[in-house]
Symmetry: C2
Subunit: 297 residues, 2 copies
Protein backbone atom coordinates (compact mmCIF):
# COMPACT_ATOMS: atom_id res chain seq x y z
CA UNK A 1 0.00 0.00 0.00
CA UNK A 2 0.91 3.63 -0.40
CA UNK A 3 0.70 5.08 3.10
CA UNK A 4 1.10 8.75 3.96
CA UNK A 5 1.61 9.56 7.62
CA UNK A 6 1.07 13.15 8.69
CA UNK A 7 2.91 14.19 11.84
CA UNK A 8 6.51 13.75 12.97
CA UNK A 9 5.75 13.07 16.65
CA UNK A 10 6.40 9.82 18.51
CA UNK A 11 3.35 8.07 17.04
CA UNK A 12 4.00 9.21 13.46
CA UNK A 13 7.63 8.12 13.58
CA UNK A 14 6.78 4.78 15.18
CA UNK A 15 4.04 3.91 12.66
CA UNK A 16 6.30 4.91 9.77
CA UNK A 17 9.05 2.62 11.05
CA UNK A 18 6.69 -0.32 11.52
CA UNK A 19 5.20 -0.15 8.04
CA UNK A 20 8.33 0.76 6.12
CA UNK A 21 9.21 -2.86 5.24
CA UNK A 22 5.84 -3.90 3.78
CA UNK A 23 4.53 -0.63 2.41
CA UNK A 24 5.58 2.46 0.57
CA UNK A 25 5.54 5.00 3.40
CA UNK A 26 5.85 8.77 3.22
CA UNK A 27 6.13 10.75 6.43
CA UNK A 28 4.87 14.34 6.22
CA UNK A 29 6.36 16.69 8.78
CA UNK A 30 5.66 20.28 9.83
CA UNK A 31 9.20 21.51 9.15
CA UNK A 32 11.61 21.18 6.25
CA UNK A 33 14.39 20.46 8.72
CA UNK A 34 12.82 17.33 10.18
CA UNK A 35 11.84 16.01 6.74
CA UNK A 36 15.38 16.48 5.42
CA UNK A 37 16.94 14.91 8.47
CA UNK A 38 14.78 11.78 8.26
CA UNK A 39 15.17 11.53 4.46
CA UNK A 40 18.94 11.78 4.84
CA UNK A 41 19.76 9.92 8.05
CA UNK A 42 16.82 7.56 8.44
CA UNK A 43 14.56 6.86 11.40
CA UNK A 44 16.21 5.54 14.56
CA UNK A 45 14.30 3.25 16.89
CA UNK A 46 15.70 2.31 20.30
CA UNK A 47 14.01 -0.70 21.87
CA UNK A 48 15.15 -3.19 24.53
CA UNK A 49 18.69 -1.92 24.29
CA UNK A 50 18.81 -2.37 20.49
CA UNK A 51 19.13 0.32 17.85
CA UNK A 52 17.37 0.04 14.47
CA UNK A 53 17.41 2.34 11.43
CA UNK A 54 14.69 2.53 8.78
CA UNK A 55 15.06 4.60 5.65
CA UNK A 56 11.82 6.21 4.51
CA UNK A 57 10.65 9.05 2.36
CA UNK A 58 9.90 12.23 4.27
CA UNK A 59 8.50 15.55 3.06
CA UNK A 60 7.26 18.81 4.48
CA UNK A 61 3.47 18.91 4.56
CA UNK A 62 1.99 21.22 1.91
CA UNK A 63 4.84 20.95 -0.60
CA UNK A 64 2.62 18.78 -2.84
CA UNK A 65 -0.95 17.42 -2.76
CA UNK A 66 -1.60 14.33 -0.67
CA UNK A 67 -2.40 11.14 -2.53
CA UNK A 68 -2.25 7.68 -0.99
CA UNK A 69 -4.21 4.48 -0.36
CA UNK A 70 -4.23 5.32 3.31
CA UNK A 71 -3.53 8.61 5.05
CA UNK A 72 -2.74 8.39 8.76
CA UNK A 73 -3.18 11.64 10.68
CA UNK A 74 -0.93 11.58 13.74
CA UNK A 75 -0.75 15.27 14.66
CA UNK A 76 -1.87 16.53 18.07
CA UNK A 77 -5.50 17.53 18.23
CA UNK A 78 -4.70 21.24 18.56
CA UNK A 79 -2.88 21.04 15.21
CA UNK A 80 -5.76 19.31 13.42
CA UNK A 81 -7.13 22.56 12.02
CA UNK A 82 -3.81 23.26 10.31
CA UNK A 83 -4.00 20.07 8.24
CA UNK A 84 -7.74 20.10 7.50
CA UNK A 85 -7.23 21.99 4.24
CA UNK A 86 -4.70 19.44 2.99
CA UNK A 87 -6.96 16.58 4.05
CA UNK A 88 -10.10 17.93 2.40
CA UNK A 89 -8.32 17.97 -0.95
CA UNK A 90 -6.39 14.74 -0.41
CA UNK A 91 -7.02 11.87 -2.80
CA UNK A 92 -7.23 8.80 -0.65
CA UNK A 93 -9.29 5.67 -0.19
CA UNK A 94 -9.06 5.77 3.60
CA UNK A 95 -8.00 8.14 6.36
CA UNK A 96 -7.10 7.10 9.88
CA UNK A 97 -7.02 9.54 12.80
CA UNK A 98 -4.98 9.01 15.95
CA UNK A 99 -5.78 11.86 18.33
CA UNK A 100 -6.38 11.97 22.05
CA UNK A 101 -9.70 13.31 23.21
CA UNK A 102 -12.85 13.53 21.12
CA UNK A 103 -12.93 17.18 20.16
CA UNK A 104 -11.74 16.47 16.61
CA UNK A 105 -14.69 14.25 15.71
CA UNK A 106 -16.66 17.33 14.62
CA UNK A 107 -13.90 18.14 12.14
CA UNK A 108 -14.00 14.63 10.62
CA UNK A 109 -17.68 15.12 9.80
CA UNK A 110 -16.66 17.73 7.26
CA UNK A 111 -14.33 15.49 5.27
CA UNK A 112 -15.65 14.05 1.97
CA UNK A 113 -13.86 10.68 2.20
CA UNK A 114 -15.83 7.43 2.37
CA UNK A 115 -13.61 5.48 4.75
CA UNK A 116 -12.60 7.19 7.95
CA UNK A 117 -11.11 5.29 10.88
CA UNK A 118 -10.18 6.48 14.36
CA UNK A 119 -7.54 4.76 16.42
CA UNK A 120 -6.08 4.85 19.93
CA UNK A 121 -2.53 3.80 20.61
CA UNK A 122 -1.45 1.75 23.63
CA UNK A 123 2.27 1.67 22.93
CA UNK A 124 4.74 3.37 25.25
CA UNK A 125 6.62 5.75 22.94
CA UNK A 126 9.00 8.60 23.58
CA UNK A 127 10.36 10.94 20.93
CA UNK A 128 14.06 11.59 21.56
CA UNK A 129 14.55 14.00 18.66
CA UNK A 130 13.13 14.69 15.19
CA UNK A 131 14.44 11.39 13.83
CA UNK A 132 14.67 9.15 16.89
CA UNK A 133 12.16 7.43 19.13
CA UNK A 134 12.39 5.09 22.04
CA UNK A 135 9.89 2.26 22.41
CA UNK A 136 9.32 1.64 26.12
CA UNK A 137 6.65 -0.99 25.61
CA UNK A 138 4.47 -2.42 22.84
CA UNK A 139 0.85 -3.17 23.37
CA UNK A 140 -1.67 -2.59 20.57
CA UNK A 141 -3.54 -0.04 18.52
CA UNK A 142 -7.31 -0.02 18.83
CA UNK A 143 -9.10 0.92 15.62
CA UNK A 144 -12.72 1.40 14.58
CA UNK A 145 -14.79 2.96 11.82
CA UNK A 146 -15.96 6.54 12.10
CA UNK A 147 -17.51 6.32 8.63
CA UNK A 148 -17.45 3.37 6.18
CA UNK A 149 -14.47 1.07 6.60
CA UNK A 150 -14.30 -2.53 7.76
CA UNK A 151 -12.30 -4.77 10.06
CA UNK A 152 -10.37 -6.13 7.05
CA UNK A 153 -8.07 -3.12 7.10
CA UNK A 154 -6.32 -4.71 10.06
CA UNK A 155 -5.06 -7.62 7.90
CA UNK A 156 -3.25 -5.11 5.70
CA UNK A 157 -1.80 -3.08 8.51
CA UNK A 158 -0.72 -5.39 11.30
CA UNK A 159 2.39 -7.50 11.68
CA UNK A 160 3.35 -9.94 14.42
CA UNK A 161 5.05 -7.25 16.44
CA UNK A 162 2.67 -4.40 15.54
CA UNK A 163 -0.86 -5.45 16.53
CA UNK A 164 -4.23 -3.86 15.83
CA UNK A 165 -7.56 -4.64 17.49
CA UNK A 166 -10.93 -3.91 15.91
CA UNK A 167 -13.42 -1.94 18.04
CA UNK A 168 -17.08 -1.81 17.06
CA UNK A 169 -17.81 1.24 19.18
CA UNK A 170 -15.25 3.94 18.57
CA UNK A 171 -16.92 6.23 21.11
CA UNK A 172 -16.33 3.72 23.88
CA UNK A 173 -12.78 3.21 22.64
CA UNK A 174 -12.11 6.93 22.76
CA UNK A 175 -13.79 7.40 26.13
CA UNK A 176 -11.53 4.71 27.60
CA UNK A 177 -8.48 6.44 26.23
CA UNK A 178 -9.83 9.77 27.41
CA UNK A 179 -10.24 8.54 30.99
CA UNK A 180 -6.58 7.62 31.13
CA UNK A 181 -5.50 10.84 29.44
CA UNK A 182 -7.77 13.11 31.44
CA UNK A 183 -6.56 11.71 34.75
CA UNK A 184 -2.99 10.47 34.35
CA UNK A 185 -1.70 13.20 32.05
CA UNK A 186 -2.67 16.33 34.00
CA UNK A 187 -2.03 14.74 37.40
CA UNK A 188 1.50 13.68 36.53
CA UNK A 189 2.09 17.05 34.88
CA UNK A 190 0.90 18.94 37.96
CA UNK A 191 2.69 16.76 40.48
CA UNK A 192 5.82 16.34 38.38
CA UNK A 193 5.91 12.57 38.81
CA UNK A 194 6.17 9.50 36.60
CA UNK A 195 2.97 7.52 35.96
CA UNK A 196 3.73 4.86 38.56
CA UNK A 197 3.58 7.35 41.43
CA UNK A 198 -0.14 7.92 40.83
CA UNK A 199 -0.78 4.28 41.73
CA UNK A 200 1.92 4.03 44.39
CA UNK A 201 1.39 7.17 46.48
CA UNK A 202 -1.78 6.78 48.56
CA UNK A 203 -2.63 10.49 48.41
CA UNK A 204 -2.24 10.70 44.63
CA UNK A 205 -4.24 7.49 44.25
CA UNK A 206 -7.00 9.05 46.29
CA UNK A 207 -7.08 12.06 43.93
CA UNK A 208 -7.23 9.70 40.92
CA UNK A 209 -10.18 7.89 42.51
CA UNK A 210 -12.05 11.16 43.04
CA UNK A 211 -11.39 12.10 39.41
CA UNK A 212 -12.67 8.69 38.25
CA UNK A 213 -15.91 9.36 40.13
CA UNK A 214 -16.34 12.65 38.27
CA UNK A 215 -15.37 11.03 34.96
CA UNK A 216 -17.87 8.18 35.37
CA UNK A 217 -20.61 10.69 36.18
CA UNK A 218 -20.09 12.32 32.77
CA UNK A 219 -19.33 9.23 30.64
CA UNK A 220 -21.32 6.58 32.41
CA UNK A 221 -20.75 3.55 30.17
CA UNK A 222 -18.15 2.32 32.67
CA UNK A 223 -18.55 2.55 36.44
CA UNK A 224 -16.33 4.57 38.75
CA UNK A 225 -14.69 1.34 39.94
CA UNK A 226 -14.03 0.05 36.41
CA UNK A 227 -12.58 3.40 35.41
CA UNK A 228 -10.37 3.51 38.51
CA UNK A 229 -9.17 -0.05 37.93
CA UNK A 230 -8.25 0.72 34.33
CA UNK A 231 -6.45 3.97 35.26
CA UNK A 232 -4.48 2.21 38.02
CA UNK A 233 -3.51 -0.63 35.72
CA UNK A 234 -2.20 1.80 33.09
CA UNK A 235 -0.21 3.67 35.77
CA UNK A 236 1.35 0.42 36.90
CA UNK A 237 2.09 -0.82 33.36
CA UNK A 238 3.72 2.48 32.43
CA UNK A 239 5.26 3.14 35.85
CA UNK A 240 8.52 4.64 34.59
CA UNK A 241 6.92 6.62 31.81
CA UNK A 242 6.88 10.41 31.89
CA UNK A 243 3.54 11.51 30.45
CA UNK A 244 3.48 13.68 27.36
CA UNK A 245 1.72 16.45 29.27
CA UNK A 246 4.43 16.48 31.94
CA UNK A 247 6.99 16.81 29.15
CA UNK A 248 5.01 19.60 27.51
CA UNK A 249 4.68 21.53 30.78
CA UNK A 250 8.38 21.08 31.60
CA UNK A 251 9.32 22.52 28.23
CA UNK A 252 6.77 25.32 28.32
CA UNK A 253 4.90 23.96 25.28
CA UNK A 254 1.18 23.95 24.57
CA UNK A 255 -0.46 20.89 26.14
CA UNK A 256 -3.46 18.78 25.12
CA UNK A 257 -5.43 20.00 28.14
CA UNK A 258 -8.12 21.68 26.01
CA UNK A 259 -8.56 18.63 23.79
CA UNK A 260 -8.89 16.31 26.77
CA UNK A 261 -9.99 17.96 30.02
CA UNK A 262 -11.48 21.00 28.27
CA UNK A 263 -13.77 18.75 26.21
CA UNK A 264 -14.66 16.73 29.30
CA UNK A 265 -15.62 19.85 31.27
CA UNK A 266 -17.79 21.09 28.38
CA UNK A 267 -19.48 17.70 28.08
CA UNK A 268 -20.14 17.78 31.83
CA UNK A 269 -21.75 21.22 31.50
CA UNK A 270 -23.95 19.97 28.66
CA UNK A 271 -25.11 17.06 30.80
CA UNK A 272 -25.48 19.11 33.97
CA UNK A 273 -22.78 17.15 35.84
CA UNK A 274 -20.54 18.79 38.45
CA UNK A 275 -16.82 18.26 37.87
CA UNK A 276 -15.11 20.74 40.24
CA UNK A 277 -11.89 18.69 40.40
CA UNK A 278 -11.50 18.56 36.62
CA UNK A 279 -12.18 22.30 36.47
CA UNK A 280 -9.38 22.90 38.95
CA UNK A 281 -6.99 20.52 37.14
CA UNK A 282 -7.86 22.31 33.90
CA UNK A 283 -7.09 25.73 35.38
CA UNK A 284 -3.85 24.52 36.94
CA UNK A 285 -2.47 23.27 33.62
CA UNK A 286 -3.97 26.12 31.62
CA UNK A 287 -2.36 28.60 33.99
CA UNK A 288 1.00 26.94 33.46
CA UNK A 289 0.58 27.18 29.67
CA UNK A 290 0.37 30.92 30.06
CA UNK A 291 3.65 31.19 31.91
CA UNK A 292 7.22 31.29 30.64
CA UNK A 293 8.94 27.88 30.95
CA UNK A 294 11.43 29.00 33.59
CA UNK A 295 8.68 30.05 35.97
CA UNK A 296 6.52 26.99 35.47
CA UNK A 297 9.02 24.43 36.67
CA UNK B 1 9.86 42.78 80.85
CA UNK B 2 11.47 39.38 80.81
CA UNK B 3 10.39 37.84 77.52
CA UNK B 4 11.11 34.26 76.45
CA UNK B 5 10.54 33.46 72.80
CA UNK B 6 10.32 29.79 71.84
CA UNK B 7 11.18 29.00 68.23
CA UNK B 8 14.06 30.04 66.00
CA UNK B 9 12.04 30.48 62.81
CA UNK B 10 11.48 33.74 60.92
CA UNK B 11 8.81 34.97 63.38
CA UNK B 12 10.78 34.05 66.51
CA UNK B 13 13.93 35.77 65.24
CA UNK B 14 12.02 38.87 64.14
CA UNK B 15 10.16 39.31 67.42
CA UNK B 16 13.37 38.79 69.38
CA UNK B 17 15.12 41.48 67.36
CA UNK B 18 12.26 43.96 67.76
CA UNK B 19 12.03 43.64 71.54
CA UNK B 20 15.72 43.34 72.33
CA UNK B 21 16.23 47.08 73.00
CA UNK B 22 13.37 47.56 75.49
CA UNK B 23 13.17 44.14 77.12
CA UNK B 24 15.30 41.32 78.42
CA UNK B 25 14.77 38.75 75.66
CA UNK B 26 15.76 35.09 75.60
CA UNK B 27 15.33 33.11 72.41
CA UNK B 28 14.84 29.37 72.92
CA UNK B 29 15.80 27.24 69.93
CA UNK B 30 15.45 23.56 69.08
CA UNK B 31 19.16 22.99 68.50
CA UNK B 32 22.31 23.82 70.48
CA UNK B 33 23.95 24.95 67.27
CA UNK B 34 21.45 27.72 66.47
CA UNK B 35 21.44 28.93 70.10
CA UNK B 36 25.26 29.13 70.18
CA UNK B 37 25.42 30.86 66.82
CA UNK B 38 22.94 33.57 67.84
CA UNK B 39 24.48 33.99 71.29
CA UNK B 40 27.93 34.41 69.72
CA UNK B 41 27.30 36.27 66.45
CA UNK B 42 24.02 38.07 67.13
CA UNK B 43 20.84 38.29 65.10
CA UNK B 44 21.12 39.78 61.60
CA UNK B 45 18.19 41.65 60.10
CA UNK B 46 18.20 42.71 56.46
CA UNK B 47 15.60 45.32 55.61
CA UNK B 48 15.35 47.91 52.82
CA UNK B 49 18.95 47.29 51.85
CA UNK B 50 20.21 47.83 55.41
CA UNK B 51 21.84 45.34 57.73
CA UNK B 52 21.26 45.40 61.50
CA UNK B 53 22.68 43.24 64.29
CA UNK B 54 21.05 42.65 67.68
CA UNK B 55 22.79 40.76 70.46
CA UNK B 56 20.45 38.64 72.54
CA UNK B 57 20.55 35.69 74.87
CA UNK B 58 19.79 32.36 73.18
CA UNK B 59 19.48 28.88 74.67
CA UNK B 60 18.40 25.43 73.65
CA UNK B 61 14.88 24.66 74.81
CA UNK B 62 14.78 22.19 77.69
CA UNK B 63 18.17 23.05 79.14
CA UNK B 64 16.50 24.85 82.06
CA UNK B 65 12.92 25.57 83.23
CA UNK B 66 11.10 28.45 81.54
CA UNK B 67 10.39 31.49 83.65
CA UNK B 68 9.43 34.88 82.23
CA UNK B 69 6.88 37.68 82.40
CA UNK B 70 5.79 36.75 78.92
CA UNK B 71 6.44 33.57 76.93
CA UNK B 72 5.92 33.83 73.18
CA UNK B 73 5.45 30.50 71.39
CA UNK B 74 6.53 30.84 67.77
CA UNK B 75 7.02 27.22 66.74
CA UNK B 76 5.09 25.66 63.85
CA UNK B 77 1.84 24.04 64.84
CA UNK B 78 3.13 20.53 64.16
CA UNK B 79 5.88 21.14 66.73
CA UNK B 80 3.50 22.40 69.41
CA UNK B 81 3.23 19.01 71.09
CA UNK B 82 7.01 18.94 71.62
CA UNK B 83 6.95 22.11 73.71
CA UNK B 84 3.72 21.47 75.63
CA UNK B 85 5.57 19.77 78.50
CA UNK B 86 7.91 22.75 78.93
CA UNK B 87 4.96 25.16 78.75
CA UNK B 88 2.81 23.34 81.28
CA UNK B 89 5.55 23.70 83.88
CA UNK B 90 6.62 27.20 82.82
CA UNK B 91 6.32 29.97 85.38
CA UNK B 92 4.89 32.89 83.49
CA UNK B 93 2.30 35.61 83.86
CA UNK B 94 1.29 35.43 80.18
CA UNK B 95 1.78 33.22 77.18
CA UNK B 96 1.28 34.33 73.57
CA UNK B 97 0.81 31.83 70.71
CA UNK B 98 1.60 32.62 67.08
CA UNK B 99 0.56 29.61 65.03
CA UNK B 100 -1.19 29.26 61.70
CA UNK B 101 -4.41 27.31 61.63
CA UNK B 102 -6.62 26.64 64.63
CA UNK B 103 -5.75 23.05 65.45
CA UNK B 104 -3.62 24.07 68.43
CA UNK B 105 -6.44 25.77 70.33
CA UNK B 106 -7.39 22.43 71.91
CA UNK B 107 -3.87 22.19 73.34
CA UNK B 108 -4.08 25.65 74.88
CA UNK B 109 -7.14 24.58 76.86
CA UNK B 110 -4.91 22.23 78.86
CA UNK B 111 -2.47 24.91 80.03
CA UNK B 112 -2.87 26.19 83.63
CA UNK B 113 -1.87 29.81 82.92
CA UNK B 114 -4.31 32.66 83.53
CA UNK B 115 -3.38 34.90 80.61
CA UNK B 116 -3.18 33.30 77.20
CA UNK B 117 -3.08 35.35 74.00
CA UNK B 118 -3.14 34.25 70.38
CA UNK B 119 -1.67 36.35 67.61
CA UNK B 120 -1.44 36.40 63.84
CA UNK B 121 1.45 38.06 62.07
CA UNK B 122 1.10 40.18 58.92
CA UNK B 123 4.77 40.93 58.37
CA UNK B 124 6.60 39.61 55.32
CA UNK B 125 9.51 37.65 56.81
CA UNK B 126 12.01 35.24 55.33
CA UNK B 127 14.54 33.26 57.32
CA UNK B 128 17.88 33.23 55.49
CA UNK B 129 19.70 31.04 57.99
CA UNK B 130 19.65 30.23 61.71
CA UNK B 131 20.74 33.74 62.68
CA UNK B 132 19.56 35.89 59.79
CA UNK B 133 16.20 37.08 58.55
CA UNK B 134 15.04 39.33 55.80
CA UNK B 135 12.11 41.69 56.36
CA UNK B 136 10.25 42.07 53.07
CA UNK B 137 7.50 44.21 54.49
CA UNK B 138 6.15 45.34 57.87
CA UNK B 139 2.46 45.42 58.59
CA UNK B 140 1.14 44.49 62.04
CA UNK B 141 0.52 41.70 64.49
CA UNK B 142 -3.09 41.03 65.43
CA UNK B 143 -3.52 39.88 69.02
CA UNK B 144 -6.47 38.81 71.15
CA UNK B 145 -7.22 36.97 74.37
CA UNK B 146 -7.79 33.25 74.40
CA UNK B 147 -8.11 33.28 78.19
CA UNK B 148 -7.76 36.27 80.57
CA UNK B 149 -5.54 39.03 79.26
CA UNK B 150 -6.38 42.58 78.23
CA UNK B 151 -5.69 45.07 75.49
CA UNK B 152 -3.14 46.83 77.73
CA UNK B 153 -0.51 44.27 76.84
CA UNK B 154 -0.13 46.07 73.52
CA UNK B 155 1.24 49.18 75.26
CA UNK B 156 4.06 47.11 76.65
CA UNK B 157 4.87 45.29 73.47
CA UNK B 158 4.56 47.65 70.56
CA UNK B 159 6.96 50.26 69.26
CA UNK B 160 6.56 52.78 66.45
CA UNK B 161 7.93 50.35 63.90
CA UNK B 162 6.50 47.17 65.42
CA UNK B 163 2.73 47.57 65.67
CA UNK B 164 0.10 45.43 67.36
CA UNK B 165 -3.68 45.57 66.91
CA UNK B 166 -6.17 44.31 69.46
CA UNK B 167 -8.84 41.87 68.22
CA UNK B 168 -11.90 41.12 70.34
CA UNK B 169 -12.73 37.94 68.47
CA UNK B 170 -9.69 35.73 68.13
CA UNK B 171 -11.65 33.12 66.21
CA UNK B 172 -12.47 35.61 63.47
CA UNK B 173 -8.85 36.77 63.49
CA UNK B 174 -7.63 33.21 63.06
CA UNK B 175 -10.21 32.36 60.41
CA UNK B 176 -9.05 35.36 58.37
CA UNK B 177 -5.47 34.22 58.62
CA UNK B 178 -6.53 30.67 57.83
CA UNK B 179 -8.30 31.68 54.61
CA UNK B 180 -5.10 33.22 53.31
CA UNK B 181 -2.99 30.29 54.49
CA UNK B 182 -5.35 27.59 53.25
CA UNK B 183 -5.56 29.09 49.77
CA UNK B 184 -2.33 30.95 49.02
CA UNK B 185 0.09 28.55 50.70
CA UNK B 186 -0.91 25.24 49.08
CA UNK B 187 -1.70 26.81 45.69
CA UNK B 188 1.67 28.50 45.39
CA UNK B 189 3.35 25.33 46.65
CA UNK B 190 1.56 23.16 44.08
CA UNK B 191 2.02 25.54 41.19
CA UNK B 192 5.54 26.56 42.15
CA UNK B 193 4.83 30.29 41.82
CA UNK B 194 5.27 33.41 43.90
CA UNK B 195 2.16 34.83 45.64
CA UNK B 196 1.55 37.50 43.00
CA UNK B 197 0.89 34.93 40.27
CA UNK B 198 -2.26 33.75 42.05
CA UNK B 199 -3.78 37.19 41.50
CA UNK B 200 -2.19 37.83 38.13
CA UNK B 201 -2.83 34.57 36.23
CA UNK B 202 -6.53 34.35 35.31
CA UNK B 203 -6.61 30.56 35.63
CA UNK B 204 -4.98 30.53 39.05
CA UNK B 205 -7.27 33.37 40.16
CA UNK B 206 -10.23 31.28 39.10
CA UNK B 207 -9.00 28.37 41.27
CA UNK B 208 -8.56 30.76 44.22
CA UNK B 209 -12.13 31.99 43.74
CA UNK B 210 -13.49 28.43 43.76
CA UNK B 211 -11.52 27.73 46.95
CA UNK B 212 -12.91 30.89 48.56
CA UNK B 213 -16.42 29.61 47.82
CA UNK B 214 -15.63 26.36 49.63
CA UNK B 215 -13.94 28.23 52.48
CA UNK B 216 -16.87 30.57 52.99
CA UNK B 217 -19.26 27.61 53.06
CA UNK B 218 -17.38 26.21 56.06
CA UNK B 219 -16.49 29.43 57.91
CA UNK B 220 -19.39 31.66 57.00
CA UNK B 221 -18.64 34.81 59.00
CA UNK B 222 -17.28 36.37 55.82
CA UNK B 223 -18.85 35.97 52.39
CA UNK B 224 -17.20 34.30 49.40
CA UNK B 225 -16.62 37.72 47.84
CA UNK B 226 -15.08 39.22 50.99
CA UNK B 227 -12.83 36.20 51.37
CA UNK B 228 -11.76 36.38 47.72
CA UNK B 229 -11.07 40.11 47.99
CA UNK B 230 -8.92 39.62 51.05
CA UNK B 231 -6.98 36.72 49.49
CA UNK B 232 -6.36 38.69 46.29
CA UNK B 233 -5.21 41.73 48.21
CA UNK B 234 -2.71 39.65 50.20
CA UNK B 235 -1.41 38.08 46.97
CA UNK B 236 -0.90 41.52 45.48
CA UNK B 237 0.74 42.95 48.61
CA UNK B 238 3.13 40.03 48.86
CA UNK B 239 3.55 39.53 45.10
CA UNK B 240 7.26 38.67 45.20
CA UNK B 241 7.03 36.53 48.28
CA UNK B 242 7.62 32.79 48.11
CA UNK B 243 5.18 31.17 50.52
CA UNK B 244 6.52 29.12 53.41
CA UNK B 245 4.74 26.03 52.09
CA UNK B 246 6.39 26.38 48.68
CA UNK B 247 9.75 26.60 50.47
CA UNK B 248 8.92 23.55 52.58
CA UNK B 249 7.88 21.50 49.54
CA UNK B 250 10.97 22.55 47.60
CA UNK B 251 13.20 21.40 50.41
CA UNK B 252 11.28 18.19 51.09
CA UNK B 253 10.30 19.31 54.59
CA UNK B 254 7.09 18.69 56.49
CA UNK B 255 4.51 21.38 55.63
CA UNK B 256 1.70 22.96 57.64
CA UNK B 257 -0.91 21.33 55.40
CA UNK B 258 -2.41 19.26 58.24
CA UNK B 259 -2.60 22.25 60.57
CA UNK B 260 -4.29 24.38 57.92
CA UNK B 261 -6.11 22.48 55.17
CA UNK B 262 -6.38 19.27 57.22
CA UNK B 263 -8.21 21.16 59.99
CA UNK B 264 -10.41 22.90 57.42
CA UNK B 265 -11.43 19.60 55.79
CA UNK B 266 -12.27 18.09 59.20
CA UNK B 267 -14.31 21.14 60.14
CA UNK B 268 -16.17 20.84 56.82
CA UNK B 269 -16.97 17.18 57.54
CA UNK B 270 -18.29 18.10 60.98
CA UNK B 271 -20.57 20.72 59.44
CA UNK B 272 -21.59 18.53 56.48
CA UNK B 273 -20.04 20.89 53.91
CA UNK B 274 -18.52 19.58 50.67
CA UNK B 275 -14.98 20.76 50.02
CA UNK B 276 -13.73 18.54 47.15
CA UNK B 277 -11.15 21.10 46.01
CA UNK B 278 -9.57 21.43 49.43
CA UNK B 279 -9.50 17.64 49.70
CA UNK B 280 -7.61 17.45 46.41
CA UNK B 281 -5.21 20.25 47.40
CA UNK B 282 -4.66 18.45 50.69
CA UNK B 283 -3.83 15.17 48.94
CA UNK B 284 -1.53 16.88 46.45
CA UNK B 285 0.62 18.44 49.17
CA UNK B 286 0.37 15.43 51.47
CA UNK B 287 1.52 13.20 48.62
CA UNK B 288 4.53 15.44 48.08
CA UNK B 289 5.43 15.25 51.78
CA UNK B 290 5.76 11.51 51.37
CA UNK B 291 8.25 11.79 48.53
CA UNK B 292 11.98 12.39 48.52
CA UNK B 293 12.90 16.04 47.76
CA UNK B 294 14.53 15.26 44.43
CA UNK B 295 11.37 13.72 43.03
CA UNK B 296 9.02 16.41 44.28
CA UNK B 297 10.53 19.26 42.35
Amino acid sequence: MNISIIGGGAVGLFFASQWSKDHCVTLWTRTDMQAEMIQRDGLYIFENGNENVQYIQSKKIGCQPLQADLIVVAVKQYNMKDVMGELTNAKSHSIMFIQNGMGHLDLLDKLPHHHIYTASVEHGLVKINGGTIQVNGRNKTNIGAFRGGTEEIIDHLQTDSFRFEWRENIHHMMIEKMAANAIINPLTAMLNVKNGQIAQNEHYRSIAKDLCREFASVFSYKSEEETFESVLSICKNTAYNESSMLKDVKEGRLTEIDAIVGVLVKEAEKKGCHVPLFRMIYNMIKGKENMPPLMSN
